[in-house]
């Protein structure tokens, strides 16, 4: 039996969850489901939905991200079922394993880029890097990404840009010198929309 709770019950928990999601406490921002469960309680998904509703007018939303290399799953928390779906089977991942972030619900205008400290060149270089890595099936040699970027950008900007993307968590680099999409790209970039738009751009 589901117990109905009043606004006052959630107010304290929503505040706690907002603090955990907004303020960076570890290497990455956001919070893991297991951490939220411990701090907010077992009904943390419902609390996050309440928070998501409060953030909507501010053009923000809470997102659930399962960071599994090569098979990440991202969903707005408003679409996440609170109880396991019937017949979902044992393969369904627990929401406690996911990480939750507050992200921009809409998108930024080019004129707003300066608020984030990014130049248009940086954004273009990041789009190219992500596009090439996706075109190569999830991993691409750093030298290939550099060669592609150097066609239009000076060498120093390419090197500095890639280091910045890696430091920020957009790209990762393994011991073999292969670049892959790291946690921040998974959390922030709608890869499907990006690839679709790249292919459709200027095609009619």
């Amino acid at each position: 039996m589901r117990v109905r709770r009043g606004k006052a019950y959630y107010a304290r928990k929503v505040k706690k969850a907002a603090h955990m999601l907004f303020f960076r406490r570890h290497y990455k921002p956001g919070a893991r489901g297991s951490e939220l469960k411990k701090a907010v309680g077992p009904d943390y998904l419902r609390v996050l939905k309440v928070l998501d509703g409060l953030l909507r007018p501010l053009d923000l939303q809470v997102k659930q991200v399962f960071e599994v290399p090569g098979a990440s799953a991202i969903a707005p928390v408003s679409e996440v079922p609170e109880a396991p779906e019937e017949g979902a089977g044992a393969s369904r991942r627990s929401p406690d394993e996911a990480r939750y972030y507050v992200v921009l619900r809409g998108t930024l205008e080019p004129t707003e880029l300066k608020y984030c400290g990014w130049r248009i060149d940086d954004i273009a270089a990041l789009a190219i890097s992500i596009g090439l890595i996706m075109a190569r099936g999830g991993k691409a040699p750093r030298s290939d990404v550099e060669d592609l970027l150097k066609r239009k950008l000076p060498d120093w900007r390419v090197r500095a840009g890639l280091e910045r993307f890696i430091k920020a968590g957009y790209l990762g680099e393994d011991e073999e010198g292969m670049l892959y999409l790291d946690w921040r790209t998974l959390a922030e970039v709608d890869i499907k929309t990006l690839l679709d738009t790249l292919l459709k751009y200027g095609a009619g």
Partner: protein
């Protein structure tokens, strides 16, 4: 029989080539379908009657395993192309190479929903910081001496910055131990350095810092707990760091040693 020895040598080299080309596929450097699996299987089959020694049979098994890895990669390749996220790589590369930076930035902005996070100083954290500062000892000689008075026997540390032959040997041994304990993966930093005595723990921590500085191992934050530090040995030392690097100071206090050793 030099003729037989030569034949065996060539056969071993052929098998190693099979293994390395298969490993290149698994590492993502080569497209899975650019490897002629039938041809590799034929080579392995032809060479098999030559093997008598256990190490040759073991190499043969490695080759078979590597080929099965290629087949697995091919299966993944097909699976990936049947998903919604698959886009023609040639078309995609062609397209991103031909777009202007302005167009690319505009496209990226349509798909970008940046994470919102805050960094803010609070009165509480300022109070805590002020308390910490007032309790922090001065760097004066007297205080340094006091700080270095450790419980138990005094600890001798090698000359800073100079690696003696003995230190080099100790490093090699520690690296070997790290690789053995990590078993191809990683080991928790505190589990690795903690020894029976505080002095030995400090010595291991000191030597481990050299392993990290000289590229024999990497020190990372455990992605699961995000708090624990883990050590990951490298197969061979790295001279030029590829990842972002940062300096980390890890205090090895007597109390912490007691906590981990207990």
């Amino acid at each position: 029989m030099p003729g037989r020895a030569r034949e065996l040598k060539k056969a071993r080299e052929a098998l190693e080539r099979v293994i390395s080309s298969c490993e290149a596929v698994e590492a993502g450097r080569v497209e899975p379908f650019s490897i002629p699996v039938d041809e590799l299987i034929r080579v392995v089959r032809e060479l098999f009657p030559l093997w008598e020694k256990p190490e040759d049979l073991s190499r043969d098994a490695r080759a078979i395993e590597a080929i099965s890895g290629v087949i697995r990669a091919q299966s993944e390749w097909v699976k990936k192309r049947s998903t919604r996220l698959y886009r023609d790589p040639f078309l995609l590369e062609e397209r991103i190479g031909g777009l202007s930076p302005e167009a690319l930035a505009a496209i990226f902005l349509r798909a970008w929903h940046p994470v919102v996070e805050l960094e803010q100083m609070t009165v509480l954290s300022l109070e805590e910081a002020a308390r910490y500062w007032s309790e922090l000892p001065y760097k004066g000689e007297k205080e340094l001496e006091e700080a270095e008075v450790l419980p138990g026997a005094p600890i001798e540390v090698e000359e800073a910055g100079v690696l003696t032959e003995e230190t080099q040997r100790a490093l090699e041994e520690l690296w070997e131990e790290l690789r053995r304990r990590a078993r191809g993966g990683s080991v928790r930093y505190w589990d690795f350095i903690t020894a029976d005595t505080y002095a030995e723990t400090v010595r291991r921590a000191y030597l481990t810092s050299f392993l990290i500085t000289y590229g024999y191992a990497s020190l990372e934050v455990d992605p699961l707990s995000e708090e624990e530090l883990i050590l990951r040995p490298r197969r061979r030392p790295r001279t030029r760091p590829r990842e972002k690097t940062t300096s980390v100071a890890i205090p090895i206090t007597y109390e912490e040693w007691l906590e981990h050793a207990g």
